[in-house]
Symmetry: C2
Subunit: 496 residues, 2 copies
């Protein structure tokens, strides 16, 4: 029997922490999907108290000895990976003082809660009062993380979401994308000009949209014994692996937004539901990175959800639920045309997969410069407007709600997260290309039994959790590390 006394102590401690995280995950979901407005003050205080407690647990004084002890123990491959991930989480946590953790949690809750109404009111000035505080505290955090890692402040934050990723690498990848994407986007828009799309003119009752979303979730393998679907202003995937809570937002004039949102969050959810139960509560049993997480949601949304084969599966239900006099609109041809329409717009979450990277690169450049102290929070609206005009030819002057106030991420101080979206899109295309060498994806979707696809993802990604590094995981799954050519090829195949 192997000697793993310290390792066992560490594991037990992490399982304990995961139980408190569970309470926070459910109360966080509740705060967004269920809570009446008057509950916010007490909830923010309770969540801040929990964050403080988690921070204390993460920085329990005995841990340093336990890590030293465990390093000398004879550990299996899985245990070593667990130890590496536990240490990473610990290092990320211990360097931030408890009072900064609490202050940022309180400021973030307050800013986010107010934002929920301020956004609708286009109230930048009101928002900025809370946001200034969030930025200041986030800059302090970034400063500490950067110093500790010997990197820029922004790289310190980036590392939280994408371990191993750097500004240098991202600048390279995004420069590459910027070198071909604008021209390609224009070419796609030109090409699509000749296509005629039948507009959807119905009123899409929320209840029927929910029914459609649930049908899509069933096809996509969501396990309803271990999760549920609700509504919230900003769609997300929360909860815990054995109880995944996804949300969407319903617009009665547009069924596609909620449907594709559900498909997207279902990708996140299936990753969570597929994580190995034997590693539950341990960092090695968690999703590899935000980019890999996003690769699963975008695999579901872009590679599966917007494919002709998948839309053919949903077409009969759409005609049945909403058809009426417009039933041609819900034929597969029109659905595909609409689901792959490319146009320059204001809103990231409404963007098509061709223009989406432009939204991300803009945010990346702003948050990089903001964390590194190159720009000030008050500069954001102007820079946003300039960059939007540059990238997509649209102006957001004075239009904060469709500009820099549209996302939830910064309100909570999650600077460094945005690049994950485009990394995810690239990984998704790369996984699809590798998968296509082994199974006939289109035929499988047509059969309505998508389990071979889920089995591939489960074997290659979900069941691996954080046992490997991102590069190792992607190499094992596809034979190479991140290669943006697959994304480019995917866009060319689908759109040109």
């Amino acid at each position: 029997m192997k000697n793993s006394n310290y390792f066992e102590k560490l594991s037990k401690h992490f399982v304990k922490m995961s139980r408190f995280a569970h309470l926070g995950a459910i109360c966080g979901w509740d705060q967004a999907a269920m809570m009446p407005t008057g509950g916010n003050q007490a909830r923010s205080e309770a969540m801040a108290e929990l964050a403080l407690h988690m921070h204390e647990l993460q920085n329990k004084p005995e841990l340093a000895d336990w890590y030293d002890g465990a390093a000398l123990e004879d550990l299996s491959f899985e245990q070593s990976a667990s130890l590496r991930e536990m240490r990473r989480v610990w290092q990320n946590s211990r360097i931030i003082p408890a009072d900064l953790v609490e202050a940022k949690s309180l400021a973030g809750s307050k800013c986010e809660h107010a934002w929920r109404t301020q956004r609708g009111e286009n109230d930048w000035d009101g928002f900025a009062k809370n946001f200034e505080h969030v930025v200041k505290l986030s800059q302090e955090e970034a400063q500490i993380r950067g110093e500790k890692n010997g990197t820029s402040p922004y790289d310190g934050m980036l590392n939280l979401y994408e371990p191993g990723m750097t500004t240098k690498a991202l600048d390279g990848i995004f420069q590459n994308v910027k070198s071909w994407l604008p021209a390609m986007t224009q070419e796609i828009i030109e090409k699509q000009k000749s296509e005629s799309i039948i507009d959807f003119e119905n009123i899409f009752e929320e209840e029927k949209q929910k029914q459609l979303g649930l049908e899509a979730m069933k096809i996509l393998g969501f396990d309803f014994d271990h999760g549920r679907l609700d509504a919230s202003v900003h769609p997300f995937c929360g909860g815990i692996p054995s109880d995944v809570r996804i949300t969407t937002r319903y617009d009665e004039a547009d069924f596609e937004f909620a449907l594709m949102g559900v498909v997207h969050e279902t990708g996140h959810a299936c990753y969570e539901q597929g994580l190995p139960k034997s590693l539950a509560g341990l960092p090695s049993g968690e999703a590899r990175s935000m980019g890999i997480h996003e690769s699963q949601s975008l695999f579901f949304e872009m590679q599966l959800g917007r494919s002709r084969e998948f839309l053919e599966l949903l077409s009969p239900s759409l005609q049945n639920l909403f058809g009426g006099q417009n039933s041609d609109a819900f034929g597969a041809d029109n659905l595909v045309k609409s689901a792959t329409r490319v146009k320059a717009g204001f809103i990231r979450v409404d963007a098509d997969e061709a223009t989406y990277p432009a939204h991300v690169i803009l945010r990346y450049e702003i948050e990089r410069d903001l964390m590194n102290g190159v720009i000030d929070y008050s500069d954001i609206p102007e820079i946003w407007n300039l960059k939007m005009q540059e990238a997509l030819g649209v102006s957001t002057k004075g239009n904060y709600k469709d500009g820099c106030m549209q996302d939830i991420h910064w309100t909570d101080g999650a600077f460094g997260y945005f690049p994950s979206y485009t990394l995810g899109a690239m990984y998704a295309a790369q996984f699809k290309a590798a998968m296509a060498k082994q199974i006939d994806i289109d035929t499988i979707i047509k059969s309505k039994d998508l389990s071979p696809i889920f089995n591939w993802l489960n074997d290659a990604i979900w069941s691996k959790a954080s046992l490997l590094s991102t590069d190792e995981l992607v190499s094992a799954a596809t034979g190479e590390v991140l290669n943006a050519d697959h994304f480019k090829a995917h866009l060319m195949t689908r759109y040109l």
Copy 2:
């Protein structure tokens, strides 16, 4: 300035604990109203971890010194009351070992979760396997509490829910009730034989029932900025004072069950919402006792909800939502007859206010003898059957789901709670009698603006929280301590 250094430390500590209790309250509500079945294992573990943490906080070693120090400080009336209540909570907690707390929480979650399906399957044997463990751990707890207080084990449990109440007092009260209630019940049933009630024959869609419930909640002053209504198998009132979560259960063949359930829980909710914000997080700012809590729900349900004046307010909506060919059924006359119909039945939560005490007294006698070790858990079905035949002339032989498996309380080990229901009915009648000397209740209800009633309750009960003892509170509100004659008089006035 007064010296209250230790008192301040204690207060801060209790506010901290209330924040963890908040997380538990929301996750507990979620577990009953939202959670998919597959989430239960992890949730039970998380709730047990939280219970353990709460126990640790409640038994923080410094507290003994803080209580000693605070006892010597110059405190205001409110602070003294706060100190008394903090000490009571502390004493109740510290005497139970941490491993017993955790074991009971785990066993209770497991038993309750399985019961949610076992009850429908009438599966006593399956239930008993979990229940045996809950009883054993509860008996251990009762033993410790009784020894500490120098009372019987059962009195040790009773004291948790009704501070100051004893088996001796309850035996006296319940013997009194037993001396007149059976004859009165028979007399009422005889009298009602000549009344004809139009049966409700509609299908009552859940969505419409919910609409009706929400209308009743509005009339009853529920603050929707600080609470919400959902559905669960066993209706309850949970959450926290600034975010009260009530639930009901919908039966599409019977609108009265859910409606009166909503009215009942709204009474609990308004008490919670009316607790003083200045004492939020402190034991002195909590509801006085379970009996006083129940007095508010029963005031709402029995004194208001089943009155002719209140049912007249709802009659138009009922006719509008469900009227159709049966619209006479929803006239006030028929509604009142139906809402005050007395009959002997199996189910406590379905019982009318005249037979309800019989259900409670039966449970009281069983849980008293169970905690005192006079009977065994396996004796319960037989004793239940015998006592039901004795009290109400109905047999529950082999019918566990409508017998001893009908309630949630014992599954969690909440022995000592049941008497609160009948104490609550008695207090409610006493409050009504006192209120009627000051304001014209019937006219106020007819006006549809019930605020004078809520103001009376707020002044006399809600805003007082736990600043006074139960006897002091009731005396201040009504000029006397508990007097069961008001309950008897209420039944005679309404039914004979």
